[in-house]
């Protein structure tokens, strides 16, 4: 995969993830640059038998962004009204992915209760903390944690 193609193919994905998981656009831009350096640095570790490039890129992006969020969390507050966030959510987007593993995950997501789907999206896609999700949704903190843990573990169990 040429570098240009890598930027063209995964730039929008990384940028979109970074935008949601960063406090400002400037921070998101810095994060994207850091993520791409990570991608290039770790490209040799990519193993097609363990998942798609997209998943590999998403893993690296999430790792970097979570690290950055962790240091910023005390001063982070969601700027998006919760209703707007929930309106945007849906297990599948119009730009449906073709990957089998993603399709399987989407089916699994659809099988989950709606509140759990929303909690997963708020955490993974929007980078909200457990406490923020609890406060925004009115769900007890313990319930939020359990929903997220079970969601991730169910997907893991479905992996080959």
């Amino acid at each position: 995969m040429a570098v240009t193609r890598c930027i063209r193919r995964y730039g929008p994905l990384v940028w979109s993830i970074a935008r949601r998981l960063s406090p400002t656009s400037e921070d998101a831009e810095d994060a994207v640059q850091e993520i791409f350096l990570d991608i290039w640095r770790h490209a040799r570790r990519f193993d097609v038998t363990l998942g798609s490039e997209k998943v590999f890129v998403t893993m690296l992006a999430r790792r970097t962004l979570i690290d950055r969020l962790r240091s910023l969390r005390p001063r982070l507050r969601s700027e998006t009204p919760i209703d707007d966030v929930l309106e945007q959510e849906g297990p599948a987007t119009s730009r449906a992915e073709r990957d089998a593993e993603l399709e399987e995950a989407r089916q699994l997501l659809r099988s989950l209760p709606l509140p759990q789907q929303r909690v997963i999206a708020l955490s993974l896609v929007h980078g909200m903390s457990h406490a923020e999700i609890s406060s925004s949704t009115g769900l007890p903190l313990g319930t939020v944690k359990t929903m997220l843990r079970r969601g991730v573990m169910r997907v893991r169990e479905s992996l080959p």
Partner: protein, 318 residues
């Protein structure tokens, strides 16, 4: 997971929380302890599951801003060299320096310790497995030689010798390397900001956990100006130390030196302030081409010979 021992259940729960950035300090310590008790635990599949779930939850694709696209192209040029447009990611350019050989026990220790932390390592990782014996601390001693004689490489030459990935030209890729003109400021955070805004070509790399629980949540970066031999280390999440009991010590691995003899970068304390700590680097010898920065935990006052038993943070430049 049903029927699994309580330790394993808890380990999985904490692993998911860690992947979501939701571990408290206490939970992070608990997680580190459990990981140490269960070295066979593999968080890679959980990380993959989280990524898949993220994608499945719906990610819109917003076009990259043009300025960011241009910056990425610049980064690629820095990383791969001018020929990057025709190279493939599967065959990255050969590096003049083989980090594994150069870093020796440090990288071996780091790789194994990082494997025991939340950082993801795939099953297919080509990191060479290291026998436990190689974790035996190497005898690192700082040579007693004058700084001038210790490193004949001029800063500019050192800069040009830095592997592409090591330099992040924050203010333009062709910015000239300025002469050292700044006096060392009193406020390290402000001085760091000035250095980053100075237009000089500086190296900037993020910290990652080195394996010791004190550094489990570490983030921040190291900023180093090879021209002026000045730099700053910034830490967020590095555990506060009790100076009467132990102190942190920075080591700089220089390509022009034997890896057994890293340059002492100074002893420092961490306050644990929410906004982080910024500490000026106090390199005891001139640094030509920094390959790796490492932070160890040592006795008060630091050591001349580190046993490398407690590595809190690492920042590779390659």
């Amino acid at each position: 997971m049903k029927g699994a021992p309580p330790d394993i259940i808890r380990l999985n729960e904490l692993a998911v929380d860690a992947l979501l950035g939701a571990l408290s300090e206490e939970e992070a310590a608990e997680y580190a302890a459990l990981r140490a008790r269960h070295p066979e635990f593999d968080a890679a599949q959980l990380e993959r599951a989280a990524a898949i779930l993220h994608l499945a939850s719906g990610v819109e694709r917003e076009p990259l801003p043009e300025t960011l696209r241009a910056n990425l192209a610049g980064d690629a040029t820095d990383f791969f060299g001018e020929a990057w447009r025709t190279r493939s990611l599967e065959t990255p350019p050969h590096r003049r320096l083989a980090p594994w050989k150069l870093y020796g026990g440090w990288v071996a220790a780091a790789a194994c310790l990082v494997c025991a932390s939340i950082l993801w390592v795939t099953r297919s990782s080509r990191v060479i497995p290291v026998p436990a014996a190689t974790l035996t601390p190497l005898t690192a001693r700082i040579p007693n030689q004058p700084a001038a004689a210790a490193n004949a490489a001029a800063p500019a030459a050192g800069l040009s010798a830095v592997p592409d990935a090591a330099i992040n030209a924050e203010s333009g890729h062709s910015a000239p390397v300025a002469a050292a003109t700044d006096a060392r400021p009193d406020d390290p955070a402000a001085a760091r900001a000035r250095l980053l805004a100075s237009g000089r070509i500086v190296l900037r790399r993020a910290w990652r956990a080195g394996g010791d629980p004190a550094g489990f949540l570490v983030s921040g970066d190291v900023v180093w100006d090879p021209a002026t031999q000045t730099g700053y280390i910034r830490f967020v999440g590095l555990r506060r130390n009790e100076p009467n009991t132990e102190q942190y010590q920075l080591w700089i691995f220089d390509a022009s030196r034997d890896e057994r003899y890293p340059v002492d970068g100074g002893v420092f304390n961490i306050s644990g302030a929410a906004q982080g700590d910024v500490i000026p680097i106090k390199a005891k010898l001139s640094v030509g081409v920094p390959l790796m920065f490492a932070v160890t935990i040592e006795r008060p006052g630091g050591v001349v010979v580190s046993d490398r038993a407690r590595i809190a943070a690492l920042a590779n430049t390659t």
